[in-house]
Symmetry: D2
Subunit: 398 residues, 4 copies
């Protein structure tokens, strides 16, 4: 690929960072705290602004409702606040899994009143999306069951689909719905939207603006995710990504930290779509929503988010470097070794010098993570936020 | 459930045994041989007849083409031969994975000539199905790739779908196509029909008489198979089963040998479908094709097949015993423990006395495996078949 | 086995329940609350007394320090309080994973001061064990790392071993140390005591009274746990169990809820040890500490613990019913099918009538879970405890 | 690391290639054939010579007995034949898994005569090792069971250990025994040497020259192999490696083809050992036997072996580039992100220019795989070997 074109594409790369990624998190055994962590919507947007400042490719922030409801409940000024930090609002994430009333599920609940409550929450999120200039809803459900017999699968599925279709009917034309799937957790026997097949069936029932969201940590171990990505593109249902990495379960580690080659192979499919001569495929590939969903409980949150963005930038660059003409030829000839080596050639290329150059053109620091660390932002915010909110406190298992 | 009704249902239970299950098998490290193992179609049907004789619930035999092509190539008399052994012909299994020409795939192959060859094989199998009185084709593909880059996923998917649709267009109205999926093996990087979602998409492209076949050993570890079964019933695409059990990969062990409760939970969904007040669901549940696909390389093949049938009989009986009215009530009330205990009550019931009684009514021996062992069939056939074909020989890795 | 002997053994069965199992728990996404849940040591012992009252086989309670430190810090009266509820104190579980100071580990920490702090905590627990009449320490560590490079494996291992050996040197002769292993979580890249091999090596370094503790949910998926159990018995290092069940990760579900046959196979090894003619093996098998470690966030905690105890009682009874002489013979003859069927015969036996009889002899209700539910204890305690502590509150991800 | 020192180390790198890797292989569904594949010991050594010729780092060939027994049964000239091809004999691999007599196991077999047969085979292999100048035995067992109840774990373990100790007693002082473990396959319920813990216990029973062999494809999914490697070094039992890669089971794919970073992390531990200031650790690290065990059924075998060697060379070079002083500092400070980035810096370095330079100094072609392909060796040997042995034939499932 011509270097100018390559750089043009790299400059257009855009990854959405999650507001909740700037707040403290942990495991079921407790939360690890950092005094500099964000605790209000304003602070989260401020932190997201830092990531954008040091990377230039993260101008969008996903919100989580109700975690991000402004203190005064007023959404009118949020767009401007975000703008002030150099970012804009991305996907609105609904949350119908945390409140005690959702103990037995949300859209799958046996009680119509709870289902209605969940529907209302979605409708509120549609409003928020429209007020904040978002492109749509990002949907993940904790719904499922822990024991055989606990629920009736088919009845539950019916209820779930009814609610989704109801929400879709309220979706304004400018928005889309991205439906995430997850193999397990927090439910440990069955999950209502357990895999891409389940998500796809629900999307088919809803309509064209309902698409599948792929979280890279939500599959059974060993799953060939890039194959799923290609399949979803083929059938017009690839909506977006939650990037992260896992070694065991849904570990929510920094993207690329465990198996960077796997992420490269996923980007390879996406670039293949972007460069396709099939307009339908190309249109989709250029409209994928890229997001992070990670839990940086040990690392500094902003540093880790910058690190993640840089990894995705490097990986996208490598995927753009793949010699696709040669690859197709090797594939047509079943020359396995050569096809494989073409991918590896691109993957093994050290793109860091190129990206330093790119960053200079984009006006960002060539060494983003360290530049941020040196800036003193973390120390300043720790001091400021402790003054405002007190010392951060953990919360254990008991 | 009323005991008379229970017995009526149990008498109608029907599980298809696979012709290839009577022949020697092994692992990639070598084949373990038994002199009594069947080597010809006639011998396989004869052995299948024994399983039917001792169980009364296995009157159907699935064939594998070309493994089961009669020595004279003539299919005309096969129905009668089967009839002579007390069995009839079930699903016709196509085989486009073994011949060297399929090294790079069959329906996914880059070479149109190979794809056409595979299509022709399927059309031949449709003919065989019609000649032998079979109800349809059972389809499993070894297609996939071993290395990243080896194939272009979307192009390959297009080719695959085109071929399936072409075959479907030749399917006579009396037949159906059951499309199996498999997570991996023999391909180790990607499999073209890797999961139920992939299979379902292909079935949707083909038409109503294309349905998904669930092999209990073909999922990522931990997959909730009963949830998939229920979902496929919900959307009208549950075609059939290959029963077996696994601990690690596609181990093809005797059904129920590793996790018998899991098989009970699957039967529980099927019975729930059979007893549904929804006619669409009920119709499907009563039309599911039950088959075994196991590799009894260490056990006597007929004994192991009888053992498998008895396990399925016991498990079906237990599933019929579930107090569904009480279960629904517990489910509606989110009484997890009680719902779970209702399933366990049925599962913990010792149905063996009931089944001995049933067998007497059906005119089969109350202790099927041991009755078969005592019959001397194995020793007699070993002698006879060694005379005919020579001593069985293994085949190692090298 | 003779029915009288069988009953004698069943009457001697003893399973320890965990104090923390009576308190609220949840997942990383939040805690599900029950107003009746115990919040103080006294309440936990009181609840444990209920389990003993309705089962007769759970007279021991494991404690977790510091969760169970008495409000006045005084351990002197705890033995008597427990006694008043019909229970006694079992294993003392150390906790060096929750406090913020253990963010980077405890015995594996780079900072000697933190390691010393963790050692001191263990020594305190030895004192508590001696004061409360416990038989020893139960050790589980959250230590590990989340990212490649984060720690130096060999150096960390040295530090870890040094600390363990130091604690062992303080262990009074009447106590033993049970060292648990866990594949992953809360650490997501490496765990310091990740498998039975790691635990065994540390035990070898400590001495004879250091033994391995097997938590059934702490293995890689598909692991043959019964094989590990047998191996640990062979080498004299089987210390105890944490029973629970899992489908995906360390789900901490009710024991037997997902794969009851697996638990039967584990009990089968234990009974085989109890009945061994090898005194060394027999001695060990009779000295295994049986405990639960489950997270009943959806079920009523006492009901679920009773349910677990009953499952273990049924499973132990089934394992005792195995015809061991016949099994050995089949094994010697490599008669796979018969050996398998001998196990299944015992497993398929409905032992519930026998256990009802046993319970009458033991003076406990024949239907333990439902008897407890009917007693009104839950409702009474909910009222009482809300008065004392207020309404139970959850705690979400943020 | 100083470039001169780096190159010195790279020039001393040595990876053993397996004789069986030059012969045809496949899956349980059939063998994929190549006319150029080696069929005799001589041809295998000849092919191995090619790998050494084009890489310069593969001068040793592992043999498999009885697959590699010379046609005339005479081992005397083998050393010279190998020498003629520029290679020498490495590990002697015993094979007690393929012959029908080992159907129920070898060292674990119930029949003493079979166990003795297996012992005798090992003693024969010790002789072969001494005749051919090998350094020792490489031991892998197919022993295990397929069904619960089939074997008595503790008795079987005793028999197994007795046989191993017996063989060890015959081992001449110049040799060592490398004991491989494997999670599953060909046995599907339990494997006698299932994990590193089992292997280690057997090695402890044998003596100091018995060490553990790590096959990268023989672990439960997600296992942290580098942690095991470090642990085995700590306790002085790291013997050697079988390199390959897996996505699902023991797929035996080309090393680095699925998760190249994982292999880098393993090399990182090994280099850390090589550079340790602890003499005991350093001694071990410098004495590790590096081997491949892969099944290149789709790729040209020699090309794939060269590709594997080059991958290991690149990965070793990257591991040597890790800034260990900086890494230790980051680890001591718990600076997770920096520690991680130090590893990634080395991993992301494009070492290909350096290696081209190195190859020129070593007198081998800078582009090994393509140079071999262009040489016409494959075509020439296909012609020659078809003339000698006939066209290669596959072997299917039936």
């Amino acid at each position: 690929m011509d270097k100018t074109v390559l750089k043009q594409r790299l400059k257009k790369q855009c990854i959405e960072t999650p507001s909740w990624g700037y707040a403290d998190s942990g495991t079921r055994f407790g939360k690890w705290v950092q005094n500099s962590a964000a605790r209000t919507l304003n602070e989260k947007l401020e932190d997201a602004g830092q990531v954008q400042k040091y990377t230039g490719i993260c101008p969008v922030v996903a919100l989580h409702i109700p975690w991000d409801i402004p203190e005064d409940g007023n959404w009118d000024g949020v767009k401007e606040i975000a703008d002030g930090y150099g970012v804009r609002i991305g996907a609105i994430n609904t949350n119908v899994f945390e409140s005690q009333e959702y103990k037995w599920g949300s859209f799958g609940h046996t009680d119509k009143a709870i289902r209605q409550k969940a529907i209302d929450h979605h409708i509120e999120c549609i409003d928020i999306a429209n007020t904040t200039g978002s492109y749509g809803l990002s949907l993940w459900y904790g719904d499922g069951s822990n024991y055989p017999g606990q629920v009736h699968f088919r009845r539950r599925r019916e209820r779930f689909q009814e609610c989704l279709v109801e929400v879709y009917s309220k979706l304004t034309d400018n928005l889309r719905m991205l439906l995430e799937y997850k193999f397990f957790e927090p439910a440990f026997y069955h999950t209502d939207v357990s895999d891409w097949g389940q998500s796809l069936l629900f999307c088919q029932a809803m309509g064209e603006r309902a698409q599948v969201l792929v979280d890279t940590g939500h599959h059974p171990t060993n799953t060939n995710i890039e194959h799923i990505v290609a399949t979803l593109m083929s059938v017009g249902r690839l909506g977006g990504f939650h990037f992260n990495n896992r070694k065991y379960a849904d570990d929510d580690l920094t993207v690329g930290s465990i198996n960077p080659y796997e992420i490269f192979l996923i980007f390879n499919e996406l670039v293949d779509g972007e460069l396709s001569d099939n307009e339908f495929i190309r249109g989709q590939a250029n409209n994928v929503a890229y997001m992070f969903d990670q839990s940086h409980c040990l690392k500094n949150k902003i540093e880790a988010t910058i690190q993640s963005a840089i990894f995705c930038q490097e990986t996208y660059a490598k995927a753009l470097l793949v010699d696709r003409a040669a690859l197709y030829e090797a594939q047509e000839n079943n020359d396995v070794l050569v096809a494989e080596e073409i991918l590896k050639d691109a993957y093994n290329t050290d793109v860091r010098p190129l990206l330093k150059e790119l960053r200079e053109e984009m006006g960002v620091d060539p060494d983003p993570v360290m530049a941020f660390r040196r800036s003193g932002y973390t120390e300043a915010k720790a001091e400021e936020r402790v003054k405002l909110h007190g010392v951060a406190t953990g919360g254990g298992y008991q």
